[in-house]
Each structure stands twice: as C-alpha cells, then as structure tokens.
C-alpha cells in the first residue's frame, strides 16, 4: 500500500479558517464517474450476421463505418443490427427469430 502524495502545500492555512464554521466533516467536492453503455438487448448477438450487437456488423466493419452501425428493435422485442435487418426485410418481412410480422419498435441512437 502506498500513499501517492502530490502537489500543493500552501492551502493548509486557508482551510483551517474555513473549518471554524460549523461544517460537515466530509464534503464531496468532485466526482469523476465511469459508466459503460451497451444496447438494451435480450440477446448479445445479431441473429442475422452472428456478430455481437455491440460490435459493428461485418459489412460495416469491412467498410469501416463502425460508428454508424446501430441496433433496431422490433415489436416482438427482438433486436438486430439495423443494416442487417434492412437487408433482411427486403426478402422476408418477418422477424428471423419468431416469424412475426416485422414492425419497428425503435432504433438505437
């Protein structure tokens, strides 16, 4: 264990004058949070291209358009890459997983 000690010693005096006020013992000044986002999906892989939905579909990976490859949800709550699905519905307007008529619930952004 080590105490990584750094910078600025001069502030001590100022702070003691502050502490004379009736103040909380611990005050939170700053918070650098880290969070991770992922698509809110039931299944991690896109059933059409077999790539994880968090990664771009193969077509977009090949064309280097990773950032534009989003996810689409149907009314059946099944989700796929938007690009994969748009190709799929040209042939068959049903959800590949449950065979229900495909209608879009929402598109990821």
């Amino acid at each position: 264990m080590s105490n990584d000690v750094e910078i600025q010693e001069g502030e001590a005096e100022n702070n003691t004058s502050d502490s004379q006020k009736p103040e909380k013992m611990f005050t939170l000044k700053k918070w650098n949070a880290v969070a991770m986002w992922s698509w809110d999906v039931e299944c991690d892989t896109c059933a059409i291209c077999r790539v994880q939905v968090m990664d771009a579909c193969l077509r977009c990976q090949g064309e280097n358009k990773q950032d534009d490859c989003v996810v689409i949800w149907g009314e059946c709550n099944h989700s796929f890459h938007n690009c994969c699905m748009s190709l799929w519905v040209k042939q068959n307007n049903r959800c590949p997983l449950c065979q229900q008529e495909w209608s879009v619930q929402r598109v990821g952004k």
């Binding site: 105490n3 600025q8 010693e9 702070n15 949070a33 991770m36 986002w37 992922s38 077999r50 994880q52």
Partner: protein, 796 residues
C-alpha cells in the same frame, strides 16, 4: 581536270603514287599540292578506260605494304630484348598513323571498289560461316593493319609477350623497367587497335596472345605472394596487404590494359589471394567479430564480398555475436523499472550494431538481415519453454511509463522520440497480440484515470502501431479514443442541461463522467461488485441517467464504480485535507460523518461490497491512517474508528490501492485472454483458407495458417492441429461449413464440407444422425472423393 574516265597508263601513274605512299606510311613529309593530286590519281586509276585499274591498284598497294612491313620486321627483329618494345612501338605508331592517312587517300577505291564486294553486316551476322574471309578485299586502312598483324605481330608474338610480361612484372616488384609505361601500354594496345576496323571480336587477338598469358602470370605471381605473406603475418596484416595489392593491381590495370581486362585481372588476384585462402580467413572471423575489431572486419568485408558465398561465415558470426550481446544486456536485469532497463538496453545494443553495420559493412542487406534475425531471437527469447516471453509486457509497460503523467520531466518531443524507438523493438516481437492486450489495458487505465501526459503523444503512438501492424490491430484502441472525445462532449452538454434546469437540479458536486462503449474497453470483469451508491451521489447518478436516456435511445448504462474517483474534503482533524480516492473508499468514509466508530459488519452491510473488495479498500484506508483499528485482523466485529489525530504535511493528496499485486494478477489474466483470442483467430484462419482452397494437404494447411498469423503471433503447431481437429466438432458448427479430415492414399487431406449437404443427406435418408457418427464420415468421404476428381489437381 575532267572527272571523265580516260585511258591511263598504270605504270606511269603508279610510279608517282608509290613515292607518296611510301612517304605516307613512314610519315614523311609531302607537299600539299602533291597530296591533292594523288587523290585524282587514285580516282583516275579506278575509273580508267577501257578497263578500270582498281584491282591492279589494290594488289600493287598490298604488295607494297607487305614489303614495307617485312622490312620493318627485320629491323625490329634484330633488336635486343631491351630495345625490342621501343622499336616496335616506334614503328607501330608510325605505321598505324600512316595507314590511317593512306586510308583517306584511297577513299575512292574503298568506297567504290571494295565496299561493293565486301560482306554486309547482315552477311557477317547471319551467314558468315561459309564465306572465306581471306579471299575478301579489305579497305586499305584495314589491309595495312591486317598485314601488320600477319607480318609483324605473328612472328614477333612470343618475344613481344615475353618482354611485356617482364615489364609488368618489373612494375609489380617496383624495379626499374626497361621500357617506359607509355611504350608498354602502347604495345599492348596495338594488339587491340590492329583490329580496330573489324566489326566484331576486336579483342580476339589481344585476348588470345596476351591476356591469357598475363592472367596466368598474374595468378602464379600472387599465389606465391599470398603464401609468402601468410608465412610471416597474421590474418589481419594479411588482409591489409591484400587490399593494398588489389588497389595497386587495379591501378596497374588501368595504366596498361584495355578496359575489358581490368575486372579480370582484379578477379584473378582476388581468386588467388582471397578465395584460395578462404578457410584461413574464416578461421579468424569468429574472434574478430567477438572482439569487434572494426578495421579488420571492414577489410574482411571488402575482401570477401566479391567472392561467391564468401560472406556467409562472417554474416553468421555477426548474427551470433549480436544475439549474444543482446541476451547479455537483457537477461540479468535487476532493481527498479525493469521495463525501461529492458527496452533501453536493447535499443542501445541495436543502435550500436546498426551503426556498426552501416560503417563497417556499408549497410549490406545480408548484415541488416542478420541484425534483424539476431534481434528477433533476443526479443523473443524465453529462458525455458514453460515460461511466457515477457518482452511484449515489458515493452507495453515501458510505453506506459513514457505516456503517463510523471515527474521525470521529459518533454513531449523526447517522449515521442523514445516511443518511436520502441517501435524498433516492437517490430521484432512475435507475440504482437500479447503486446496489444497489455497496451490496451494500460491505455484504458491512463484514459480513465486521466493520467495521460499528452493526448497528442498517445495518438501518435497509436498511429505508429497502426503503421507497423495495420488498421485492424489498433481499431479497438481508436474506439477508446473516440469514447473519450464523445464523453467530453457529453459532459459539456450535461452541464448545459443542468444550467437550463436551474437550482432544483444542482448536484452540489463537480461532476464529470466517461461513458465507455461496452466491448471496446479491456476492463477486467473481476472487480465488479454489488455496491450501494452513497446518498451524496444518488442525485448525480439519477440526473445523469435521465439526461443520457433522453439523449440516446435503446441504451443502458452500467456504472463502473470501481473505476470512479472522487475528491473529498476531510475536516475531522485539525486541518482540512482534500483527498482524491476511489468511490468505495469515499462511501466508507462518508459513513463516519455522524459516528466515530463502526464495526466492519456495519460498514460492509451498508456499502454492499463483496468481501474481497471490501477488505481491499478498507485496508487501504487503514494504511492511510485516516481510519484505525485496535487489532491487526479484520473480522466482522472488529471496530473501526476515525483517526481524529490525523495529520499529513500535504493537504491535497491521493489514496490508491496497491498496484503491485494487481500487476501480477493482470499479467496472468491478459495471457489467458490472449490464448482465447488466438484460438478464435486460428479457427477463423482455417475457415478462410479452406473456403478459398477447397481441398488442401494437412501440412500445407498448417503452413498457410502459420503464414497468415505471423503478423500477429507465432502460433504453436500443436495448437493449430488442435484447432483443425476441433473445427469439425466445436468451433465451426454454427458456420456454413464444417471441416472433415480425409485419409486418402496416405495423404492427410482436408476439405470443408457444406453443412447444407450434410443436413440434406441426413434429413432425407437417415433420421437424426450425430455429426460424429460413422455415416456422416462416409458421406464426407464421398463428398471429398468427388471434390478430388473434380479438381483434377495433379499436385495431390
């Protein structure tokens, strides 16, 4: 004077002409007016009426020249050996010049009479075999030289060559020569010039009568010289002598010989002095290389380069030496900052030999290759086969220390320089994927904890890696970068959002966030623990989530509290401190707001942390002396108290958690992650290859897999074999293809079988058949047989 043909008395005109011709060939003086009239004489003879007298003119002139040369020959022949060359040379100059003028004088005869019946170029090139060259009439200049060759050189040949060789010998031994250089040179060149009118093989005479003899003479001279030198000096001195000799001989060649011979003479000397004694030189190579005697090595390089395969031994020794030096530099590293020691001492060795190869071996590709090979084996050296090679990790750590904020005070350009050099080492690493994993982890840490010295340096380094390994290699690193810039954008928008909402939404703290894309960041899953967010942070979390969901759709956020950091103002003791710490530590300290002591149980129940994380972070607070306990051990009922006597001379600092133990753990994790990635990579490579090739020998398949993956790592053959075998059972089952091994005529062949075929057969003819079953294998066999006959490849 009329140009019209007229009757001419041959004797009369010839009588005048003879006199002039004799003057010309002896380079006597002729009046211009006489010279001019002689042209018309030649002309009038050639066009004489009724019969042209050209033929007679030709034979008479020939006779005259023959007589003249014979006469000269007798004069030369009488000379003693000392004067032979001088006399020959004097007459040669005179005669060769004379015939040149004569050629002009007879130009009408040449052009009208002789050229007509002369063989054309085409005849010489394509049909000269049957033609009798001696019957042919020659132009007067050529005729003169031809006669000289026949009447002068041929009979004198032996003596001339003897004397010439003697002269050159004297020049070699630096004794006074009988004839001056210009004479020797002139005589030698006369053998060439005597054929100057010929269209091809002008050098034939020279080569046959002189050059061969000269080379023999040279050879035997230097053979003796070489063995004499080797008797009384060592290889180093010997090489010096040989180089001097070669230079002398080259100079001599330019002094005496026509250009075509220069190379040959030098080569003869090389053969006799170097190639013949290769073993002797090679015997010394090892010790010279290990002592790094640059002058000797440079000499050796100069001497051995022209000899076929002469350098192989030297190259080999150099390679071994560099390898040995490199290993010596990196095997016994001790103490602090091993990554920096490792990389910098390797670079030092590299630079040293790079310059040596440049200075001593003139950047010869063979030596550059040897350096690369040597470094490859040093960098990828493993003490024994059980342990993993640490170089990728060390190099990544080295880059990490350079890119981290530090107090070392290197400026940006120095850092960039050092990073640039580390690419040199990176290129030698076999396991580039291991480096990538380590680098990504450290980069993630730097970015999240805001420890990067400069984003420009970070980006420059990634671009360097991209240059070395291609886009795909760095794509994940790039995604991490994108996340950072997206996050800073997001923070700005969030702050604007807060302002617009007014007082009710004030968070009371300085809030900033990094939102990372799942999958792009190499964050270990191990540190994830349940955690109750302290009350003070709840508002921030909720407000941000609302904001985020209004901004994006279809996304969910997972808070990575183990990576969050906060700044806490602590004023429970005499002074106030501003302490940077992790969220977990913060949560525990905040519980002491109202009370001075709590049991471990209370702390843990409140924070919901799991045992491992709880103990780790509580221990770090105890170590920082902010909290204290009575006992050493932490048990459920142990009471933890706030240290009201806390003092630290700094008022702003940071508490962190032991990095050492994590490093070891991290390394193991990384290596096992790499192993998994490799399996996938190999399987993908197998499918790629098989889709393209359809049918392949087992060994060929392995070769191709190795060559495809070489840019990333050096795959172990057993691992490839395992992946091939597993292919039919596990990894590829979801794929369109499955692979099946097929044993035909003792050759192990491989083919991918379309799964559709497999399904079709199994569903129509048989009910459900497990894929490994015999029937399935038979179907595969039929398929492969058909494939073989359809490809009709002879290579199997």
């Amino acid at each position: 004077m009329s140009l019209k043909p007229r009757a001419v008395n041959f004797e009369e005109v010839w009588g005048d002409l003879v006199e002039t011709v004799q003057q010309v060939v002896t380079m006597g003086s002729i009046k211009r007016s006489v010279w001019n009239t002689r042209f018309s004489d030649v002309y009038s003879l050639c066009v004489a009426f009724p019969e042209p007298l050209a033929e007679r003119l030709y034979t008479e002139t020939k006779k005259l020249l023959e007589n003249h040369v014979r006469q000269l020959y007798f004069e030369v022949e009488e000379q003693s050996e000392e004067n032979l060359l001088a006399e020959y040379h004097r007459f040669w100059i005179q005669f060769s010049k004379g015939t040149q003028y004569l050629n002009h004088l007879y130009s009408y005869l040449n052009s009208q009479h002789i050229q007509k019946q002369k063989f054309s170029d085409a005849d010489l090139t394509y049909g000269s075999m049957q033609m009798d060259m001696s019957e042919q009439l020659l132009e007067i200049g050529e005729l003169g030289l031809e006669i000289w060759q026949r009447e002068m050189i041929r009979p004198l040949q032996k003596r001339l060559v003897g004397v010439l060789l003697m002269g050159i010998q004297q020049d070699r031994t630096a004794t006074a020569t009988d004839a001056p250089t210009s004479t020797i040179r002139g005589v030698i060149h006369s053998f060439v010039d005597v054929n100057m009118y010929k269209k091809k093989s002008t050098l034939q005479l020279y080569e046959s009568i002189f050059e061969g003899a000269l080379l023999r003479e040279t050879g035997s001279f230097y053979r003796k010289e070489a063995s004499a030198l080797l008797q009384d000096c060592n290889v180093s001195q010997y090489m010096e002598c040989v180089i001097a000799r070669l230079a002398e001989e080259e100079l001599r060649a330019t002094k005496f010989l026509p250009p075509s011979s220069h190379q040959r003479v030098v080569k003869e000397v090389q053969d006799r002095m170097v190639a013949d004694h290769l073993a002797t030189v090679h015997a010394e190579t090892g010790s010279m290389v290990s002592a790094e005697r640059t002058r000797d090595l440079s000499n050796m390089y100069t001497l051995l380069r022209p000899v076929p395969n002469g350098l192989t031994v030297l190259v080999h020794h150099v390679k071994d030496h560099i390898k040995q030096q490199g290993l010596q530099a990196v095997t016994s590293l001790k103490g602090d900052n091993i990554p920096a020691q490792f990389v910098e001492s390797l670079l030092e060795v590299h630079k040293k030999y790079r310059t040596m190869i440049m200075d001593v071996f003139h950047n010869d590709q063979q030596f550059v290759g040897a350096l690369d090979k040597a470094f490859e084996s040093v960098v990828n050296h493993r003490g024994n086969t059980k342990v993993v090679c640490r170089s990728p990790e060390l190099l990544a750590r080295y880059c990490d220390t350079l890119l981290k904020k530090s107090t070392k005070g290197l400026n940006e350009s120095e850092v960039d320089d050092k990073l640039g050099h580390s690419i040199t080492i990176f290129k030698y690493i076999d396991d580039k994927d291991v480096f990538q994993k380590f680098y990504a982890r450290m980069l993630a840490k730097r970015l999240i904890q805001q420890q990067s010295q400069s984003m420009d340096s970070e980006e420059a380094m990634i671009n360097k890696l991209k240059q070395a390994c291609g886009y795909e290699y760095t794509s994940k690193l790039h995604r991490m970068f994108t996340d950072m810039s997206v996050s800073s954008d997001l923070n700005q928008k969030f702050n604007e959002f807060l302002k617009s909402k007014g007082k009710t939404h004030e968070l009371g703290i300085n809030f900033s966030i990094n939102v990372l894309q799942a999958g792009a960041w190499p964050l270990g899953q191990t540190s994830i623990t349940p955690f109750a967010v302290p009350q003070e942070l709840e508002k921030s979390v909720q407000t941000f989530e609302t904001f985020y969901h209004s901004h994006f759709s279809g996304r969910k956020l997972t808070w990575l509290h183990h990576l969050c950091q906060g700044e806490l103002k602590v004023s429970h003791s005499k002074r106030t401190y501003l302490i940077t710490m992790s969220t977990f530590q913060m949560a525990m300290l905040l519980m002491f707001e109202k009370v001075d002591s709590l049991t471990c149980n209370e702390l843990q129940t409140h924070t919901h942390l799991n045992d491992e994380q709880f103990n780790k972070f509580l221990q770090s607070l105890l170590d920082s002396k902010l909290l204290m306990t009575d006992g050493e051990e932490l048990r459920g009922e142990t009471v933890v108290r706030l240290n009201t006597d806390y003092s630290n001379k700094r008022t702003k600092f940071k508490i962190s958690v032991a990095p050492q133990r994590e490093q070891q753990h991290e390394a193991e994790q990384t290596h096992s992650a790499v192993e998994e990635d490799r399996k996938l990579y190999l399987q993908a490579a197998i499918v790629r290859i098989m889709k393209a090739r359809k049918l392949l020998k087992h060994t060929m398949l392995i070769q191709e897999v190795i060559s495809q993956s070489r840019a990333r790592f050096a795959p172990q053959i057993p691992m490839i074999k395992k992946c091939i075998e597993q292919g039919s059972v596990v990894g590829l089952q979801d794929e369109e293809w499955a692979s099946v091994a097929y044993q035909a005529e003792k050759i192990h062949l491989f083919a991918l079988i379309p799964l559709s075929l497999d399904y079709a057969l199994s569903s129509t003819q048989f009910s459900v058949i497990p894929r490994e079953s015999k029937t399935c294998a038979q179907l595969a066999t039929v398929f492969v047989k058909n494939l073989i006959s359809s490809t009709q490849s002879t290579s199997f």
